[in-house]
């Protein structure tokens, strides 16, 4: 690929240069007050009959109850869903209207695949920093159980033409175009439109490319379950979660799982690859239903409402990769976003106290870390002198992540932001500076969104 002229990193880099954030006029802070989510449920489980609107409303009402926001006019609410019915065009606004918030609270929907939740946080935090709003609720929801099912293209065209037909003969003529195969419904899937490969198959390519072992993936999955279970037992989620439909914990959590048990699972992705397939149902996240919300505010608003201030939303960065032509793995965008974000803020991996790297698959996390530790990748793809660096694994997903909790696509960002903000606040200061956390979320379409939070 070094045929792109002078830059070794590929496309012409128009991102702000390092340190440019400091050159911006002094903005006010956007703080994370807290969050609320419902337990995440494996698809087909406790939330089978719950719609996205039901779950988002429940998550909102729990947040409102926790922070006493009844009848409050919030500056703006933004949320989204990846799998969304067309009738839910105003999903977030409808959820607000069904909640205990003031009906005068505006809302908008946003969608950026699995990065939806984090992007709502960043967008709203920016509005707060700019002084456009004083308070905001960011969120996300997804249901793979109550997923929209579309009719086939053939049937859709017939139905639309039928609507336009004026006479009976015209109508019969349109109907005569219908073929039996047109009646098969078009269910959503996680396949990439441009490659036809599922997300798991894409990751299998990346996992093999970075030579990530089955053992390393199973160990990450084991730690995720172990850490999440320990967090529940310690009461960590008591002020982050509100039970829903009889669930009080994430239903995917297997507190009793072991490396031995994980080792017995058969591979499900990458079976056609030459190398031994390594990705199992144990080290991949299952389809999940759930919703999450995060309360953001200016410092003044939080103070005037006697609300806690856990952390600030420092900065965020989005990246995308060309996975279509195989230049990078589908879920590798964060490997580029994080170096850019840290450079802009004058930070390195050593300056981070908590890493929250979304576990779409264990292989995703490990491939990203492997890329950062790779000299070649650092030089040729990141334009650095060598490897970007390595992280202290004891700082990684310390209270569990998606492998254990599950991953209702748009709800994962809110889960991570609220949990990380709480951890940062509890940590307080590190070496005389506020504790710092990094969030990294990969998304379909070869995208990724990352962010930095700092303790208050």
């Amino acid at each position: 690929m070094p045929d792109h002229g002078t830059s070794a990193t590929g496309p012409k880099d128009t991102a702000p240069a390092a340190g440019s954030a400091a050159a911006l006029p002094q903005l006010r802070k956007a703080v994370v007050v807290g969050g609320n989510r419902i337990p995440f449920a494996r698809t087909g489980g406790a939330y089978t009959k719950s719609s996205n609107q039901d779950m988002l409303t429940a998550a909102l009402d729990g947040l409102i109850a926790r922070f006493g926001l009844q009848d409050e006019r919030i500056g703006e609410v933004a949320a989204g869903a990846v799998l969304k019915h067309s009738r839910d065009f105003n999903l977030t606004r409808e959820a607000v209207l069904g909640s205990a918030l003031a009906a005068e609270t505006p809302a908008y929907d946003l969608q950026q695949a699995c990065a939806t939740g984090l992007e709502t946080v960043l967008g709203l935090a920016n509005k707060i920093k700019l002084g456009q709003i004083d308070s905001a609720i960011a969120g996300g929801v997804d249901s793979a159980s109550d997923a929209p099912i579309a009719v086939s293209e053939g049937l859709r065209e017939v139905l639309l033409d039928l609507n336009r037909a004026k006479t009976l003969p015209q109508r019969l003529q349109v109907l005569s175009r219908l073929r039996p195969k047109d009646l098969a419904p078009d269910a959503p899937n996680t396949g990439e439109p441009r490659t036809g490969l599922s997300m798991g198959e894409h990751q299998a390519l990346t996992t093999a490319q970075w030579k990530i072992t089955r053992e390393a993936q199973d160990e990450l999955a084991f730690k995720s379950h172990h850490n999440l279970a320990a967090a529940y037992d310690a009461g960590f989620f008591d002020d982050l979660l509100t039970p829903y439909r009889g669930l009080t914990r994430d239903s995917n959590l297997r507190a009793e799982t072991s490396l031995e048990k994980l080792a017995t699972l058969k591979p499900v992705f990458g079976k056609s690859l030459g190398t031994a397939a390594t990705m199992t149902a144990g080290n991949s996240t299952p389809l999940t239903d759930g919703a999450s919300t995060v309360l953001l505010a200016s410092e003044e608003w939080a103070d005037s409402h006697d609300l806690p201030k856990l952390a600030t939303v420092v900065d965020g960065e989005a990246a995308a990769v060309d996975f279509v032509h195989g230049k990078d793995g589908l879920l590798m965008a964060p490997a580029f976003a994080v170096p850019r974000l840290l450079a802009r803020n004058g930070l390195s991996l050593e300056d981070i106290d908590f890493f929250e790297i979304h576990e779409a698959f264990a292989g995703t996390v490990l491939s990203t870390l492997a890329a950062w530790e790779d000299d070649e990748f650092g030089r040729t793809r990141l334009g650095l002198d060598g490897a970007f660096g390595s992280i202290d694994k004891s700082k990684l997903n310390v209270n569990g992540s998606s492998l254990a909790a599950g991953h209702p696509f748009a709800a994962t960002g809110g889960r991570i932001v609220a949990s990380l903000a709480k951890m940062l606040h509890a940590k307080g200061q590190v070496d005389g500076r506020p504790a710092r956390g990094l969030i990294s979320i990969c998304a379909a379409g070869g995208q990724g969104v990352v962010a930095i939070l700092e303790a208050l």
């Binding site: 922070f67 009461g235 009080t248």
Partner: protein, 446 residues
């Protein structure tokens, strides 16, 4: 849980049949609604002394229709029997028999309230006999009253007068629909403390109150009642009940605190939440409780210990934290939910009754400690209350249980809540260390 029998005997054929067969004839009780008059109909004040005169003029200042002498055939809203100057049992005759002449003129849901003095040993044998006589008199009279009428008494300890703030507060409570399911009970005014609210409809205005076990049932009703009375609410329940808790919190415009009260640091967590989020803490209602019923012969360690841990040990620990906190020093109020099981006992509930008996002991012993901060602590002991829990009792057992009191019906969670709201108010500042039963005067047990 609706009581369909009450509907059936309240009108038409059912009423007629019940009357002919001598079946129980419970009536729909007059319960407090905002804006409702304190009492419906004239109030007859019986008693000759200066205490009775003072009380009568106070009632007049409340714009009540006060009678010092009965008007024949006039329906009465209440009879107040002032017996604060008894010196011998013979002194009872005149006022009691005078009141007796008016009993048939009591309206539906009327009130009979005695005001007497505590039968302390120091008073001397004859005086104590006269005063203690009021106890038996009132409890028996309450059992004779019909059609939702109740009889309750106010006992004045040394230092309390007929017009002490808490005497008047208790009088207002007993007269009103707030005490609908309180029958045959006494409240002792222990001190000339407390004050009547500026706004009788919002007696808890400006107060920050914590209610534990607030996700459902009696706890949720307490939260709603305190909210109606003007308090700012912090509702607490175990994290697993968080969804119901959130619903209650949003209904009462409060904050939800998901917390297991049996945690070591529960008291501090409650105080921190109250101070950080609401700037103060005035009232704590210990309502959270569990049952793990089993005959004692079959009792296991888990059932025994969990009930003791949640129902009494947690309250003791939280109270310790509250009493030690500088944030709980401005006329603080604690009200605990006990149970008639802890008084009269209940087969299969040795653990529960031990814990609830414990609550009453704790309340008595904590009263002098909290008095140092101008505070008070009391307990409310509910009898048969129509809740999700009692709805699970088999039909026949439930039907018998709910009729076995003077009002011949089960109480509602709101009835318990009303008693708690009163004891949590400034008007109850001179009442401490007491247990008030909300049981419709259970016929069995104490």
């Amino acid at each position: 849980m609706t009581d369909t029998y009450i509907q059936w005997v309240s009108k038409g054929l059912g009423k007629d049949i019940a009357k002919r067969l001598g079946l129980p004839q419970p009536v729909v009780l007059r319960r407090h609604k905002p804006g409702q008059p304190l009492v419906e109909g004239p109030v007859l004040v019986q008693g000759a002394g200066s205490g009775a005169d003072e009380l009568a003029s106070t009632l007049l200042s409340w714009h009540l229709d006060v009678r010092r002498h009965a008007v024949p055939k006039e329906k009465l809203g209440a009879i107040i029997l002032v017996l604060d100057e008894l010196t011998t049992p013979e002194d009872l005759e005149k006022p009691v028999l005078a009141a007796a002449a008016s009993l048939r003129d009591l309206a539906r849901n009327a009130r009979v309230i005695t005001v007497s003095r505590a039968a302390a040993a120091a008073a001397g044998p004859a005086v104590a006999a006269a005063r203690q006589g009021v106890d038996g008199l009132l409890r028996s009279l309450a059992k004779e009253l019909r059609a939702g009428a109740t009889g309750n008494g106010i006992v004045l300890a040394d230092g309390a007068t007929t017009t002490s703030p808490s005497t008047l507060g208790a009088l207002r409570f007993f007269l009103s629909g707030r005490s609908a399911f309180v029958d045959g009970q006494f409240l002792t005014v222990t001190a000339d403390a407390g004050r009547l609210p500026a706004d009788a409809e919002k007696p808890l205005a400006g107060k920050v109150a914590v209610v534990t076990g607030a996700a459902r049932g009696i706890g949720a009703a307490i939260a709603r009642t305190l909210y109606r009375d003007g308090a700012t609410l912090i509702v607490v329940d175990i994290p697993a009940a968080g969804d119901h808790l959130a619903t209650v919190a949003n209904e009462v415009h409060g904050t939800a605190l998901q917390l297991d009260i049996s945690r070591e640091d529960a008291g501090q967590r409650i105080i921190d939440h109250a101070i950080e989020r609401h700037g103060r803490l005035d009232i704590v209602i210990h309502n959270a409780g569990i049952t793990r019923d089993k005959l004692l012969a079959n009792m296991d360690r888990g059932r025994w210990n969990s009930v003791i841990a949640v129902n009494i040990a947690a309250q003791l620990r939280i109270n310790e934290a509250l009493l030690a906190s500088e944030h709980f020093r401005s006329s603080p109020r604690i009200v605990s939910v006990a149970s008639t099981s802890g008084i009269a006992g209940n087969r299969g509930q040795t653990n529960y009754a031990a814990s609830k008996g414990g609550v009453m002991g704790m309340v008595r012993a904590t009263a002098p400690l909290i008095a140092a901060h101008g505070g008070s602590i009391n307990a409310v002991a509910p009898g048969f209350i129509e809740t999700e829990m009692t709805a699970r009792i088999p039909f026949a057992t439930r039907e018998v249980a709910r009729r076995l009191n003077s009002l011949q019906q089960g109480g509602r969670p709101g009835d318990v809540a009303e008693a708690i709201a009163f004891l949590a108010s400034d008007a109850a500042g001179g009442i401490s260390g007491e247990v008030l039963r909300v049981c419709g005067q259970n016929l069995v047990g104490a």
